[in-house]
């Protein structure tokens, strides 16, 4: 290998990214005795300084509303004044005409797991064999039976609170005690029952009891600002310290990957990166490379990894690299209030800022074509005594009566957020912008994306059902969002390095190993065929565990 002649150290594995996928790969590989070099595009966070989850609004310069001069660039609720400077705003991406994609990226060590929403449901055969059921697209190259043991291990490592629910759409797992239902949950559950909609404890990676050496949650409610005691799963609290303990991990921060380097046979043999602090170009060498930079960024780096072997990007003989981009449509399907609770004392029902409950997919379960759309969506209900009384807009007037109304309505607001997956489409993909480069000279990624008709039908359906649930629960609706959130908002993009059995139509095999380059793996949501009606993090962890152990086995057999 060229690296040997350049007298640089050759690591067993270079892992690009340290979030859900990278963290899992790093820990698994280092614990197996392999030497690991982790490259992370941003800095390391210091919990005491960077996690301002216990600050009150009046502790913040702009009271938590954010600096008006930069507010327009915010990626949404998670990119707020409490986590200033943590979400990525320096590195450019572009969107094709007609595409409105918002791309919240967290390049701090641990990535988005520092601030994620924590909902953690398993994918099931209803997802893996969806094509068989409804005739759209292709099945996943993996069955639930194969991946189930990895989900069990992921749950044991993360700590997931929930209950066994026997839902056909949602395989059950191994759970910590669930979070308790609040007043609003019991009331909305009664409304759901009258409509045949399930209303159950969510699966949430938040510790209701001490677990694996981590303390239980104290329900302060600042989770979106990061947890300073590590009471919910994140890569820096749960995985990276274990990897460091092995002595097999070296981490470079502010190391922005430019491309995967190849040897004379076209195999991966390292990564070129730019040090964001010194702006120096560096090269590092490894016997294998794992891409865990997040769905779009892994595809971006691979598309930029052009050589005589891979003229359109590494491991792209299929032409599928960057294609098949899917996302979750998010939006407020309905919101309103529960008059039963008017004038009741405040109650700590919003403090976990968590998905205490969910309405798991109930559509198209027995007959895949029962509804006007195929597949299905889930809904997260929420509400209660929030930090800021945003509902004041719905209350008329001023003076003592207005002030009293704000107090009376305080425990009553409720809302429903839909999570609806798109279907793969030839028109939703990423490629390299031929003209734009980022400040480090890397050709920028360009995103092409539109909501599809099937997903928009789910959105309309969810608005009707959720309004009906509010009415049946004795509540009043204030309305629904005029539009869904922008594409990208959910952080759940999938598919840009899709896995499959056929090297002509997929980038990786069922182990996340690229068909073309046997020592190059993809371990993030890019390998998923779509995003289903569940969130992605626990599946990234389960699939990465399996991929990492496959890679370890290849090392043992001397094949790498």
């Amino acid at each position: 290998m060229r690296g040997v002649f350049m007298a640089g150290k050759v690591y067993d594995v270079i892992v690009v990214g340290t979030g859900a996928g990278g963290g899992t790969a790093i820990k698994t590989l280092a614990e197996a005795g392999l030497s690991v070099l982790a490259l992370n595009a941003g800095r390391k966070l210091v919990p005491a300084r960077d996690f301002r989850n216990h600050r009150k609004s009046y502790d913040m310069k702009f009271r938590g509303f954010g600096d008006p001069r930069t507010r327009a660039q915010s990626y949404g609720y998670m990119d707020n004044e409490y986590v200033e400077g943590v979400w990525e705003h320096e590195i450019t991406y572009t969107t094709a005409p007609g595409t409105q994609w918002m791309w919240p990226r967290c390049y701090a060590v641990g990535g988005k797991t520092n601030f994620w929403g924590r909902s953690s449901a398993r994918f099931g055969d209803i997802d893996f064999k969806a094509a068989q059921r409804d005739g759209y697209d292709v099945d996943w190259p993996i069955s639930y039976e194969e991946i189930a043991p990895y989900y069990t291990r992921a749950e044991q490592m993360m700590g997931v609170a929930s209950t066994v629910q026997h839902r056909p759409s949602n395989p059950d797992g191994h759970y910590l005690p669930p979070m308790n239902f609040r007043c609003l949950d019991y009331i909305l559950q009664s409304g759901c029952e009258k409509n045949g909609v399930p209303y159950l404890p969510d699966r949430i990676a938040q510790l209701t009891v001490a677990h694996a050496g981590h303390p239980p949650c104290h329900y302060c409610g600042g989770c979106t600002e990061g947890c300073d005691i590590g009471a919910f799963f994140s890569s820096p609290w749960f995985f990276l310290p274990l990897a460091e303990k092995t002595g097999n991990l070296e981490m470079r921060t502010n190391a922005l990957a430019r491309e995967v380097l190849v040897d004379e046979n076209g195999k991966a043999h390292g990564v070129a990166y730019v040090d964001r602090l010194t702006r120096r170009e560096e090269e590092v060498y490894g016997r294998a490379v794992v891409m865990s930079a997040s769905c779009i960024e892994s595809a971006h780096i691979m598309l930029n990894s052009k050589s005589r072997h891979w003229p359109t990007g590494i491991a792209n003989s299929s032409g599928q690299l960057g294609r098949n981009l899917c996302d979750h449509l998010y939006g407020t399907s309905a919101y309103g209030y529960l008059p039963q609770l008017l004038g009741q004392p405040s109650f700590p029902d919003n403090v976990s800022s968590s998905t205490v409950a969910w309405m798991p997919r109930w559509q198209n379960l027995e007959n895949p074509h029962q509804e006007s759309f195929i597949r299905g969506y889930s809904v997260y209900p929420g509400g209660g005594c929030s930090e800021f009384p945003w509902y004041y807009r719905h209350l008329e007037g001023f003076g003592s009566s207005f002030k009293r109304d704000i107090k009376r309505y305080y425990p009553t607001p409720i809302s429903f957020e839909v999570q609806a997956p798109t279907l793969r489409s030839d028109t939703n993909f990423v490629d390299i912008d031929p003209e734009v480069k980022d400040v480090y000279g890397r050709p920028a990624v360009r995103i092409h994306f539109q909501w599809d008709v099937n997903t928009l039908k789910m959105w309309e359906h969810s608005k009707q059902v959720c309004a009906e649930v509010i009415r049946a629960a004795g509540g009043e609706t204030w309305g629904a969002a005029d539009h869904p959130e922008l594409p990208g908002y959910s952080l759940h993009e999938t598919g840009a390095c899709r896995m499959g059995n056929d090297p002509k139509t997929s980038v990786t095999n069922r182990f996340g190993q690229t068909h073309d380059v046997p020592n190059l793996f993809v371990c993030d949501a890019g390998v998923f065929l779509n995003c289903t009606d569940k969130t992605t993090t626990i599946s990234i962890i389960a699939f990465t565990l399996r991929s990492s152990e496959h890679l370890i086995e290849l090392f043992r057999r001397g094949e790498i």
Binding site: H54, R55, D59, Y186, I187
Partner: protein, 204 residues
Amino acid sequence: MAGQGMDRREVLRCLALAAAAGTFPGFSRWSFACGDHVNAGAPTPRAANYTMQFFSRHEYATVERLADLIIPGDGTPGARDAGVAEFIDFMVAHDDSIQYPFRLGLAWIDAESERLDGSRFLDRPAEKQAEMLGHLAYRDRYRSGEEDGRAFFELAREYTVMGYYTSPIGLKELDYPGLRLYSESPGCPHKDDPEHLHLPPPKF
């Protein structure tokens, strides 16, 4: 574990606040670093010491009066006690997009007041001030030709709510239950009444 960490975090929080509060102006009343822990009483009004960042003295006094009418001190402290005018001055000074609407709206209020009674808004008796706002605030009392005034009133109301309910006083008024420590996830105390049709009579 959470309990043990509390002191350390509280100390850090207070230190950070003390450092930050010194660096930006306009915080005499609304950045009570650790007010609810170490400072038992209500904050002392310091309007005389306050230096406006955006508004003129007259504009500032009008904003303060409007905020006080929108969220009055009645049984509990109001916008004036919570330093809402300082908050609004600070936010407007940092936000180009609302400078013109505030300045124009305040001018409208005085012009309309003079048109009606020949006196500026602040010179009207309190009940006449409230009466004027009533036409901007309640749909069934709207008057034609006051569209600009209604838009400004909604803006002033928005910033008053923002300033009041993010202050220590406002959070106490709501009895905001977050950012405290709980030993288990707080659950509904009325499980025998899932639809909550038989709750105790409203407290507020």
